[in-house]
């Protein structure tokens, strides 16, 4: 009996917490289907009386949401691809290749993790101006192309590759490049997936830097566009919720599909190096 009560308590509290966690998201979804103006009523309605796609249609037809969506997709995809290549190569080198000053260089990189990115933003803007990259996709991606965290993650994982495997390949006469592509990469597959999800999500959700470096609307990413829209059209609750749905849905879906990889990566990344 006592056990039953405890079980109800534990599960009840969890249900409550889960509800709080999900409620704003469900409400967002519901309001996004309401007729314009319907959400501004007392008491606040929970479900649309007459569901409509009008908000989504207006967002894409009038506010250019499709363009922002493509910008976000393009930037997140390319940033992910490039950073995967660079981070994998560097992480592998730190884990498995021997060279003078390896540990010291790695320690220096880890030390760099404590520096908040914002410290670099002002000079980075000037640098990009000099390179002619302000208001370009490449300019948005620049700070994402290599991440210390990514190198760290790959290194942690790659350390578990047995040295004998690599040595055997070397004895067979394989070059370092071939070893990397044919032996190492397949073994690193899980971390590749994890790192790809991480980078994609981080790039998709990034806000401050795109806000600074993108000046023309046609290059806006979804978060920047949504922030601008919500400042201008405060009263259009339903449309803003639809915009929030469009912004969130891809990353939420990606997370739900790849949850296991994401959470394993999160744990791996937080293990102290």
């Amino acid at each position: 009996m006592k056990l039953r009560l405890a079980s109800v308590c534990v599960n009840g509290t969890l249900i409550g917490m889960a509800l709080i966690a999900l409620f704003p998201l469900l409400w967002m979804l519901s309001v996004s289907f309401m007729q314009p103006g319907m959400a501004s009523a007392l008491p606040p309605p929970l479900l649309p009386a007459h569901p409509t796609f009008a908000n989504y249609r207006d967002l894409f037809a009038q506010s250019g949401m499709g363009g922002y969506f493509l910008n976000s997709l393009l930037i997140a995809t390319i940033a992910t691809l490039i950073s995967l290549v660079f981070n994998l190569m560097a992480g592998y080198a730190f884990a498995k290749l021997r060279f003078a000053g390896r540990e010291r260089l790695f320690q220096a990189l880890i030390g760099g993790l404590v520096i908040p990115a914002q410290v670099a933003m002002m000079p980075l803007f000037l640098l990009l101006k000099w390179m002619g990259l302000v208001d370009t996709y490449l300019g948005v991606m620049a700070p994402m192309l290599v991440t210390i965290f990514g190198i760290f993650l790959v290194r942690q994982y790659a350390r578990s590759i047995p040295d004998e495997l690599l040595e055997a390949a070397r004895i067979d006469g394989a070059g370092e490049g071939r070893i990397f592509v044919q032996i190492v990469l397949p073994l690193l597959k899980p971390i590749v997936v994890t790192l790809a999800i991480f980078t994609f999500l981080a790039s998709w959700n990034d806000f401050m830097w795109p806000l600074i470096v993108l000046t023309s609307q046609q290059h806006y990413t979804l978060p920047v566009a949504l922030a601008a829209l919500s400042r201008e059209r405060v009263q259009d609750t339903e449309q803003m919720m639809a915009g929030a749905v469009v912004t969130m849905l891809p990353v939420l879906a990606l997370f739900l599909m790849m949850q296991r990889h994401y959470i394993q990566g999160l744990l791996l990344g937080s293990v102290k190096g």
Binding site: L3, N11, L14, M17, A21, L22, F23, P24, L25, W27, V31, S40, P44, F86, N87, M89, A90, Y92, L97, R98, F99, G112, V114, I115, P116, Q118, V119, A120, M121, M122, P123, F125, L126, L127, P143, L145, V146, I151, E176, F180, N205, F207, M208, I212, L222, P223, L226, A227, S230, G243, A244, T247, M248, V251, L252, F255, L266, L267, S270, K272
Partner: protein, 293 residues
């Protein structure tokens, strides 16, 4: 052997080059910039740039805006971090409880806010806490309580942002705590049970000490995240009401990218960096003394 060393550097070169150009160089440049009076005049013509030593830092210490931004940030950090840690530790303990059903579903639900786009989630919260038509006040009035001007009242705006941050970040810490809890050897609990220890005593004498390193790590991660608060005030309150939610980074953004006083903005950024570094080191030192790390 030599060719292998070469290979190592070839593998490192792209990453180090990009990091050097887009990170190391700007960080060093940022410090240099903070020692100048780079402003719109300098933007127009570099001859108008002057080296002013620590002038920006000294000026910063005399700016009321800086102190109030620092106060707001510390408020957010000092209230928000413990609250987030408590809530996520609680959630992790519940999830780890042997009576819990539907593990995966609860975990996914509680984690979902973490992966949502911060800007989009902030936009949603702005409407949830709308004074007239928001759900929060709808709930209060359902309970027979007076509505609260969540985002319009300077006393309530920051607590509302803290609530948002707890909601958004709870899942992340929860996962880390959960992993920490699961790595505690079951024999310890077994021993405590044989000793006849009560649940609170077991928590206090077994769980908490074993969780020490995780607590420290989660604390530092949360702390540095919260110090960098920017999107929340930018989207939800625009720094208001009455500047009560202007954070240090918000100030840096306005100094730097609104007024284009890049020298001053760099000084603000470095002050924040120094502060974060000092507090994190302090925590680590404290933990080391207690023998956790």
């Amino acid at each position: 052997m030599k060719s292998r060393r070469m290979a190592a550097w070839m593998f490192l070169a792209p990453a180090l080059l990009v990091l050097g150009v887009f990170f190391v160089l700007p960080v060093l440049g940022g410090f240099a910039l903070s020692l100048t009076d780079f402003d719109p005049y300098a933007l127009a013509d570099l001859h108008n740039l002057r080296f002013i030593g620590l002038g920006n830092y000294l000026a910063l210490l005399q700016r009321p805006e800086f102190w109030s931004a620092l106060g707001n940030t510390l408020y957010f950090v000092l209230v928000g971090v413990p609250l987030t840690m408590l809530a996520s530790l609680g959630a992790a303990l519940l999830l780890n409880h042997r009576l819990t059903r539907w593990h995966a579903a609860f975990r996914t639900a509680l984690f979902a806010p973490v992966v949502t786009t911060l800007v989009a989630a902030a936009v949603v919260w702005r409407y949830v806490f709308n004074t007239r038509f928001g759900l929060a006040n709808g709930l209060l009035s359902g309970l027979g309580l007076d509505p609260v001007d969540w985002l319009g009242d300077p006393r309530w705006a920051m607590p509302t942002l803290i609530l948002f941050a707890v909601w958004k970040n709870l899942g992340y810490n929860m996962i880390l705590f959960l992993a920490g809890l699961q790595s505690i050897p079951p024999q310890l609990y077994e021993a405590a049970r044989i000793d006849g220890a009560s649940a609170p005593r077991t928590f206090w004498h077994v769980t908490l000490p074993m969780l020490g390193p995780t607590l420290l790590m989660v604390g530092i991660l949360t702390l540095s995240g919260y110090f960098q608060m920017f999107t929340e005030p930018y989207v939800i309150t625009e720094g208001g009401p009455l500047q009560s939610t202007v954070s240090v980074l918000y100030l840096m953004y306005e100094d730097g990218f609104k007024w284009w006083n890049l020298g001053m903005a760099s000084a603000v950024a470095f002050m924040l960096f120094v502060l974060m570094f000092a507090i994190t080191s302090g925590l680590l030192l404290f933990a080391r003394r207690r023998g956790h790390a």
